[in-house]
Amino acid sequence: MPTGNPKTIDQAFKDLREEARTRWEELRQTPGPKFRLGLATCGIASGALNTKVALEETLAERGIMAQIRTVGCMGHCYAEPLLVVENPGFPPLLYHQVSPGKAKMIVRSFLEGGDPLFEHVLGAMEENDMIPWIMDFPRFSNEVRVITALCGVVDPEEISDYIALGGYAALARALESEPEDLIRAVEEAGLRGRGGAGFPTGKKWRLCAQAAGKRKVVICNADEGDPGAYMDRTLLESNPHQVLEGMAICARAVGARRGIVYVRAEYPLAVRLITTAVQQAEKLGLLGESILGGDFSFHVQVFRGSGAFVCGEETALLRSIEGKRGMPRHRPPFPVQEGLEGLPTVINNVKTLASVPPIVEKGPKWFRGVGTPRSPGTAVFSVVGDVVHPGLVEIPMGTTLRSLIFDVCGGIPRRKSFKAVQIGGPSGGCLPEDFLDTPIDFDSLVEAGAMMGSGGMVVMDEDACMVDVARYFLDFTQKESCGKCTFCRIGTRQILEILERMTRGEGREEDLGLLETLADVVRRGSLCGLGKTAPNPVLTSLRYFREEYEAHVREKRCPSGTCRALTAFYIDLDLCARGCDACVGCCPVEAIFTTLNRKKGIDQTLCVKCGECVAACPEEYNAVKKVSPPHLAPIVERPPVQET
């Protein structure tokens, strides 16, 4: 910022904001139609880039001047690609599943013909008397957005959007506050770490501030190793500046000059966007040397993590930055005492840091007004699996699981019934229907045997097998165990082997007791959270779905028909239509043959049990059946091959 006479921090910031607001107003006032397209990973995966090209081409072809802004994720992953269209004379409308063809249609019918194509509209973005407002729908109205408030609103590559909408005001204020006041605000807000364990953030900051030494470090943990979660990535892809602002405030509070964003290399878009964000903030003097012209400096660097789940654990994360194998070490000393290169280091999750600017801006009281007394604020979940409206959801802590799954996410599709919800990924657990009224907060979830963990939530309907889900997570933790502790390294392997033999139908009566014993020793004998929590998926499913384990062991039966060694497919000859070949073509292993009376049979020795034939068999016949245990399938002989 080229300034002749020194400005106060406050003035420097006001100038920046003025400029950003002017630009934002100009954007708003531009005449003609405006588009806003979601281009986070989920949008791109659903083809949003093609939609963008189609939109641009059609507009050019028709000679329409329109503004297209790209934003991050709006959280409604079930409806991607999402497009907001502002056509003068109409309220802004939100369109779902906008394929390139649909984009063309919207231009022609809506922009040129004045027909908004209601069947493709999810809702209006503002209240009006023409089209239902999105806030009339539970998927929208039940959310309270603190961390993701501006996701899908701002362009993540445009710092000025964020500033115009109130961003970096908290940092400007923090620069003129005493560090002690900042720490106290976070303490009073009762903010707890969103990285899993819920450690009080204010306390962590205070410990670091009090630690000896002048050089300190702030690290943003965006490793997000849970194989079924993607909130942290989405946040970095949608509004990286809120995270950076939180980091800078933390640095100011604890007296750090150096910051690192540790983000997985598998998230190339997030890496690119956070790197751009750092550069933009440096250019405006909001990061880097002498921030806003004051005497506080904070340099942020982006480090790409190389994809080891255990590196999400804070001490392992530090080692990997130091260029070593990412193995956790004993604590104490805690990173706040001895962290990166021995310097006192605060490590906070992405969402924890993103909660900080609103706390500084609106005050601890306001933050406490959301959520529960012991877990104030909001929780961000990626809710996936068997729900009608999967995606990213931000709800106040204390919301019940039932309300989240059934009210917000629309319940279970295809008229199936709810069976379990897996919370917290590999460290969490599976909760059954009886627990649906559990409030979502740090302590209640731990009490139920699950944990907040990373915030991944997978909802499962009656077709899911709990033994298989436990096996899946153990397979994951066993592979990801760094190998340091014997109990974790060998214990997870033994648990996995038992689960594997159960799913193969070779489980033994004593295995259930053995699982419990092993789970207990692994939990007690492991150094870091990976091993300590690895048995959770087994323990919870064993506790709440014991009869399913028993069916696997005693009857060699998989009640939901998931475990392939315990199921068989057969074709009901009474239902099979003579001469229909629908299933034959779809079988990937050519296991389906034609019987002498031109019906079909399955060669059990070839069948890989993929279930394709079930899907292929025309609904009016519905002749392919699945049974468990497999010996229940009637034997149909393959006719001898005829010489031709």
Binding site: A40, T41, C42, I44, A45, S46, C77, Y78, E80, G225, D226, P227, G228, A229, Y230, R233, T234, A265, E266, F303, R304, S306, G307, A308, C311, S320, I321, E322, G323, K324, R325, G326, S382, V384, G385, D386, P390, G391, Q422, G425, G456, V458, M460, A464, V469, Y472, C482, G585, C586, P588, V589, V608, K609, C610, G611, E612, A615, A616
Partner: protein, 186 residues
């Protein structure tokens, strides 16, 4: 299932990239903390870490090659086989697992005769398993190069591979025609 222990020969481009890497190493300091960023840089240029590259990195940092291997093999990001021209990444994140992602993986493995983490000898295809790619609503998901294929059913696997094969044959025919045309010109 064929042997994967054998080392893939470096192609001419890879050998050239290796020379460039030797130059690029100079931009990194010799502190241990640069190891992972350096390995990432090498993999970005070569798409895997061949033994010769590991040796270069080791000598730059003054480490033993086995120590560099020790670190590199710890992390899932680093690969030691060249990826195929078609990189097949099957999502085995939680949502995709529940929807039968492993059946999809098996189908690719069976059709291509390689296992996950391996590359076909002609370097056309490689298979990897990945964790959640962020579009669980489309589960089960397969990413081939940069394209996401949602709701992949086992029966779609064959179609996808067939599509690539047809594309390749067409290209080969065109190349051949091109080459023939050129030789006639002379």
């Amino acid at each position: 299932m064929h042997e994967q222990s054998k080392e893939f020969e470096l192609t001419a481009e890879e050998a050239a990239a290796l020379d460039e890497i030797a130059g690029a190493l100079g931009r990194f300091g010799q502190e241990r903390g640069n190891l992972i960023p350096i390995l990432q840089m090498v993999q970005e240029r070569l798409s895997y870490l061949p033994p010769r590259a590991i040796e270069l990195v080791a000598s730059h940092l003054g480490m033993a090659p086995c120590e560099v291997y020790g670190v590199a093999t710890f992390y899932n990001q680093f690969r030691f086989h060249p990826p195929g021209r078609y990189r097949i990444k099957v999502c085995l994140g939680t949502a995709c697992h529940v929807k039968g992602g492993d059946i999809i993986l098996e189908n690719f493995e069976r059709k291509l005769g390689i296992r996950d983490g391996e590359t076909t000898p002609d370097r056309e295809f490689s298979i990897e398993r990945v964790a959640c790619v962020g579009c669980c609503a489309l589960a089960p998901v397969t990413v081939i190069n940069e394209t996401v294929h949602g709701h992949t059913a086992p029966s779609k696997v064959e179609g996808l591979l067939l599509g690539f094969q047809i594309e390749r044959e067409r290209k080969e025919r065109e190349d051949k025609k091109h080459a023939d045309g050129e030789s006639q010109d002379h």
